[in-house]
């Protein structure tokens, strides 16, 4: 598994008072959490309509970073519009990839046992990882600085423009997602399929179109997450998606799987907790903390923080 790199901001020597250190860690945590939230949204939406864990989602995120890496050479560096072009291209590319995966691997299994779909998802995930190792190369690459970057300091608190970018872009995308899901026709259809696929079909919803759209939407968010992650942790490789992907899934479960605000909340919480653990004496255990949270949440509140608990009926 890949080691995470500390963003340079957190190594700031000026950190002195406990309060400013706390605020700095909180800020770092929120920007990491915003990325987790973006990935978690894709997991939660797919789980909402199809009830399975899309293991390949974390590798779509990886592909997003690589789209940015290859396009990054063709746009002028450190410009806002160049960065935006790359962000949009990665979102578009990932949306397409997600829809293709759904069409080829998951749609033929509609109605099959959950386990088979889960294994297929693991297969797709492995396929993307190993193809990445062959076609992109297994050695880590340095992601180009596509957005202009600067550090702003407020007293001993240092905020980088990339952190602001991550939080702003993530917030905008989440608001857009909320609007799509609750204010558009296709969003209503998505919620209908999530509630009861058969009944949705009966009232004229085309389930295949809705599911395809859901994959596209979720994968686009993963693509955006891939670019934002690579901007903050600029070393990318074909296995980079594994850990953030698992953690984002934990975030989705933490917030209540299938629940969109829950995924955002879970992502932010998890990113913050992880950053604080990383800054403490327990830093070598930071990869375990997400799973410890997952286990505790599933044992005591399986529906997650914002999820509704349903009783099994026979």
């Amino acid at each position: 598994m890949r080691a995470h790199h500390l963003p340079p901001e957190s190594l700031n020597p000026q950190l002195s008072t406990p309060l400013s250190e706390f605020l700095q860690q909180l800020l770092n945590g929120l920007s990491l959490g915003a990325i987790y939230a973006l990935i978690a949204l894709g997991y939660t939406m797919v789980y909402g309509v199809l009830r399975f864990i899309n293991f390949a989602h974390s590798d779509v995120f990886m592909v997003g970073s690589f789209i940015g890496y290859y396009l990054g050479k063709h746009v002028p560096e450190s410009t806002v519009w160049g960065g935006l072009v790359i962000l949009l291209a990665a979102m578009l590319g990932c949306a397409l990839l997600g829809m293709i995966i759904e069409r080829l691997a998951y749609r033929p299994l509609r109605g099959a046992a959950t386990l088979n779909v889960l294994i297929t998802a693991i297969g797709v995930s492995l396929l993307l990882e190993y193809s990445g190792q062959v076609f992109f190369g297994a050695t880590p690459r340095t992601f180009p600085a596509v957005f202009p970057s600067a550090n702003y300091s407020f007293g001993s608190l240092v905020i980088s423009s990339n952190q602001i970018l991550v939080i702003v872009v993530a917030a905008l995308l989440m608001v857009a997602l909320q609007l799509i899901v609750y204010r558009t026709k296709i969003g209503t259809a998505m919620r209908a399929v999530s509630l009861n696929p058969k009944a949705a079909q009966l009232v004229g919803v085309n389930n295949d179109v809705v599911i395809s759209f859901t994959f596209g939407l979720g994968s686009a968010l993963a693509g955006a997450g891939g670019i934002l992650y690579a901007l903050n942790y600029p070393s990318i490789d074909p296995l980079m998606g594994v850990m953030p992907g698992l953690k984002a899934f934990v975030a989705a479960v933490l917030g209540g799987i299938g629940n969109i605000p829950g995924a955002a909340l879970g992502g932010l919480l998890l990113g913050t907790v992880e950053t604080f653990v990383n800054g403490s004496q327990w830093s070598t255990y930071k990869d375990a903390i997400a799973f410890a949270i997952l286990i505790i949440i599933l044992l005591f509140r399986p529906a997650g923080l914002l999820g509704k608990f349903t009783v099994e009926k026979v």
Binding site: A105, A112, A113, T114, I119, T120, V124, L126, L127
Partner: protein, 313 residues
């Protein structure tokens, strides 16, 4: 099966016979055979949990690592004290190794109990995730224990694993799992798999069966880990990550869940496949993952499951 004990005895004798001629076998073939044997133990034991009992576990590599580390620690730290500087006779070494393997198995079984009791309340995807989480936590803990080599792992483990031990434990695991599920008691595993609610309604303690399956599965995963450590002579925490668990799950799925013979065949095939694909090493994992997807699309009941109509779950 009329006299299963005789089969076990015959298998053990056969193992002894094969190991007697092992110096005439090509070392490369012997290595591949050892790898196949270890994978069979892993797949057959996971099949008890995932196949027969229907509890989807994604943390088998975690239990394997507990067994590997414990067994290695026994022969590394206790071995020199018990056997003396010369290393003892072959018989003493054998006894030592058996003790190390059993210790590894028991340690893994205990880990299985600790993991199983809380997490087996969950079902399906959630159980898969929690076992995955536990597997990863076990890995991170091993990475942080300096005494066991930390992230660098343990080196210099004595090469006790011979083809005899591997075949003997293959026979033992197949024997225990098949006798268990074919016994009156063992019907409970299948009932838990088929319909949990109905089983509970007729008074079956499904939680009990799930935990027993989990603990026995973990025990054999632990012995497989011990065999693996004393075969490779070095173990690292990353060797037992999520990917390894997936590899074992794929063997179970491909063999057909709850079909011991099929799972054994799948373990053989999936260990040989990477060896056969070695000339095109660069693409072999791509082929492997493509095969997995195609298998799920074309033959979701498993490659070696010929009981038609029974595969529906």
């Amino acid at each position: 099966m009329p006299k299963p004990h005789l089969y076990l005895l015959a298998a053990l004798l056969a193992a002894l016979g094969i190991s007697h001629f092992s110096d005439r076998i090509d070392p490369y073939h012997l290595d591949v055979l050892t790898g196949i044997g270890i994978n069979i133990i892993l797949a057959v034991s996971l099949n008890l949990v995932n196949g027969y009992t229907g509890q989807f576990s994604l943390g088998h590599a975690g239990f394997m690592s507990v067994g590997a580390y414990l067994a290695a620690a026994v022969s590394l730290f206790l071995g020199p004290k018990l056997l003396g500087a010369e290393g003892g006779t072959a018989l003493q070494q054998g006894g030592m190794f058996l003790a190390a393997l059993v210790a590894g198995g028991l340690g893994a079984a205990f880990a299985g109990l600790v993991v199983g009791v809380p997490s087996l309340r969950l079902k399906g995807d959630y159980l898969a995730l929690v076992t995955l989480g536990f597997g990863e936590i076990i890995r991170v803990i091993f990475q942080n224990v300096e005494f066991l080599g930390g992230a660098l792992g343990l080196n210099g483990i004595p090469a006790y694993t011979t083809i005899f031990w591997v075949l003997a434990f293959v026979a033992l695991s197949v024997f225990v799992v098949s006798c268990l599920v074919n016994s009156t008691y063992g019907r409970g595993f299948l009932a838990t798999h088929d319909d949990e609610i109905a089983s509970e309604a007729v008074g079956l303690n499904t939680t009990h069966y799930k935990i027993v399956a989990f603990v026995i599965g973990a025990f054999f995963a632990g012995t497989a880990g011990g065999l693996y450590g004393h075969f490779k002579m070095t173990i690292t925490p990353t060797g037992f990550d999520f990917t390894k668990s997936v590899e074992i799950v794929v063997m179970v799925i491909m063999g057909g869940m709850g079909n011991t013979l099929g799972v054994v065949l799948a373990a053989i095939l999936l260990t040989l496949l990477p060896e056969l694909l070695r000339p095109i090493a660069e693409y072999r994992m791509i082929i492997y993952s493509l095969l997995l997807i195609i298998l799920m699309l074309v033959r979701p009941q498993g490659l070696f499951n010929f009981k038609l109509g029974k595969a529906k779950t």
